[in-house]
């Protein structure tokens, strides 16, 4: 019998609706796979197998009675950033380690309304602050991929490391994730999976634990581009509970997969050719350009002159918003409260110091500093002005192209416990050098696996679309996916 966990989301949905497989069988297959793999990979921080079995039974009943919905019976993993009613949600922080939301996030509610099955909550960097999944209160996630030169455990990237690892290791059909500076696309690139961050405002932020509200956006990590389109369709919606939610029609995203890209203009930004980037990444980029040319697209050189300022700009804007958002964790109404103090200020300070991890505290302090009297204009307002320059770069570039093609990451997956990156926060932040610009500009960005490097590790290409043009982004990604013929999977060592 074939291994059901290896199915794509599309393949599984086809099998379910044609009654070749049941949701209960499929769900049991994933439960078995998770039980085997999770001690090694640590992708799930909480499993909800009883709930999954109940949801699967209900899906089987609906399929039998001809009431199947868009994702009926599909077992998914949920990043621990999304509040799930009556199911512990911690954002992988010690300060929320026992938090049980009395409400459901809009994104997950949309999935359940479409019939999806929840397998559990996926590991991530604490409050989504990290690029290696090492800041999680529940310990790091291990990448199912290994270098052919070493047996060392590799990072799946971050912050959606659990989502990426789970999808790559066939521990769910697809997963929810979120992206503030690259947290969907970098882990997708590191694990040979597809990840898309839609246009800011496409997916509701209601019930998503906030990191940096003007940048945070939900999206899926999946096995294929088509699966990404299917997940996106369900996750996105207009929501009156999020004041930045966009009241716009959703196109049929899957209809763009397989669409001709003939005549589309592909922008190649000169500024993304960075010093010190491995030659393999440049070569893959050239290969991607060649594939799109072969598909009839036109290649256009473009300039995004303020690219080099995107990361420093982000590291003012994101911590500033984070310091404000995380002020709510005061030990009073929910979250951890210290046992070691009785006075008010002591209780605030100790509750927060005990509950937050090192990277989160560092970012709160940067944010507090750049917002403090005397520095607000020099840092924060300045960064907001640079942010507009970066957004204008894209507006100008899109006058001469329809989508932009870049590498997804400056390297393949690196080792867990990388001491150079641990010692130098800026070196870790550079992981997001290719992805962070689209968060600042609010644009859709997608990472698609396009090849392996000399170590046998996956590398991704990034497609950036115009605002609200996820469709063309998906069409281009599907062409790259087909041309790359990326069918590699990590060999099972767990």
């Amino acid at each position: 019998m074939t291994d059901l966990t290896k199915l794509t989301l599309k393949g599984a949905l086809d099998g379910l609706t044609s009654k070749q497989i049941s949701s209960t069988e499929l769900t049991e297959a994933f439960i078995g796979a998770i039980e085997t793999a999770n001690p090694a990979l640590n992708a799930y921080v909480l499993t909800t197998f009883d709930k999954a079995r109940g949801m699967a039974a209900e899906s089987d009943r609906r399929i039998a009675s001809g009431e199947a919905r868009a994702l009926e019976g599909a077992p998914l993993g949920i990043k621990d950033l999304f509040c799930t009613k009556d199911v512990r949600t911690t954002a992988c922080s010690g300060i929320l380690d026992t938090f049980i939301p009395p409400y459901e996030s809009t994104v997950t509610q949309n999935l359940w309304d479409d019939g999806a099955v929840m397998l559990g909550k996926l590991n991530m960097d604490e409050f989504a602050m990290g690029s290696s999944n090492e800041t999680s209160h529940w310990g790091p996630v291990t990448n199912p991929w290994k270098s052919n030169a070493s047996n060392a455990a590799l990072t799946p990237g971050g912050s959606s490391g659990g989502s990426a690892s789970a999808v790559a290791a066939d521990l769910c059909l697809a997963a929810t994730a979120s992206d503030t500076g690259g947290s969907i696309r970098q882990p997708a690139a590191f694990t040979g999976t597809v990840g898309i961050k839609p246009t800011y405002g496409r997916a509701s932020r209601f019930g998503m634990v906030a990191f940096a509200s003007s940048l945070d956006q939900a999206g899926p990590i999946t096995k294929t581009v088509e699966d990404a389109a299917i997940m996106l369709q369900s996750m996105c919606s207009y929501d009156t509970k999020d004041s930045t939610s966009l009241k716009v029609d959703l196109p049929d995203f899957a209809s763009f997969v397989g669409k001709s890209v003939k005549g589309l203009r592909i922008g190649i930004p000169d500024e993304y050719r960075l010093d010190g980037i491995p030659a393999e990444i440049d070569a893959l980029w050239e290969q991607g350009i060649a594939w799109l040319k072969d598909a009839g697209a036109e290649i256009v050189r473009i300039s995004l002159p303020n690219t080099k300022y995107a990361l420093p700009c982000y590291y003012i804007v994101a911590p500033a918003e984070a310091s404000s958002n995380l002020a709510r964790y005061d030990g009073m109404r929910f979250g951890h409260r210290t046992e070691a103090a009785t006075g008010l200020t002591d209780t605030y300070e100790l509750s927060r110091s005990e509950g937050f991890g090192k990277e989160v505290k560092r970012r709160i302090m940067i944010g507090t500093y750049v917002l403090s009297a005397g520095f607000y204009d020099a840092y924060y307002v300045k960064a907001l002005k640079v942010r507009r320059r970066i957004a204008e770069d894209f507006t100008n570039a899109f006058n001469s192209c329809d989508v932009i093609l870049t590498p997804a990451t400056p390297s393949s997956a690196f080792e867990l416990g990388d001491t150079a990156k641990a010692a130098d926060p800026v070196a870790m932040y550079l992981n997001d050098v290719f992805t962070v610009t689209t968060n600042l500009a609010g644009l859709p960005g997608l990472s698609v696996p396009a090849g392996l490097d000399s170590k046998g590790l996956p590398l991704g290409l990034q497609v950036i679309g115009k605002a609200l043009d996820e469709g063309t982004t998906l069409a281009i990604a599907a062409v790259l996916e087909k041309a790359a013929g990326f069918t590699h999977k990590p060999s099972k060592w767990w």
Binding site: P102, G201, S243, C313, T345, S353, K361, I364, L384
Partner: protein, 95 residues
């Protein structure tokens, strides 16, 4: 704009975080490293540029001024560290 330990201590206090002296020392170094790297923003000419506070131009949506939620005392206090009869128990605020 180098940050000294006294400044880090003040920022920690504004952030309602308490860090050991040893950690404050190392944080001064880390924050200087990060802020030094951020200084490159000064190269960008932003004269006449308006700060960008939202990436999508949209007007703030308004809704009718009516009650849409409420009567959920048990839910509201459910995750509180200490409660009595639907109230939060907090440290003494006024001495």
């Amino acid at each position: 704009m180098a940050i000294d330990v006294a400044t880090v201590r003040k920022v920690a206090s504004l952030s309602r975080l308490r860090e050991s002296d040893e950690r404050l020392e190392s944080l001064a170094g880390e924050l200087n490293g990060i802020l030094g790297w951020i200084e490159q923003l000064n190269e960008v000419d932003v004269s006449g540029v308006q700060p960008m506070t939202s990436c999508i131009e949209m007007t703030q949506p308004l809704r009718d001024d009516v009650v849409t939620d409420g009567d959920k005392v048990a839910d509201v206090v459910k995750n509180a560290p200490k409660t009595v009869d639907g109230f939060f128990i907090v440290p003494k605020v006024v001495e």
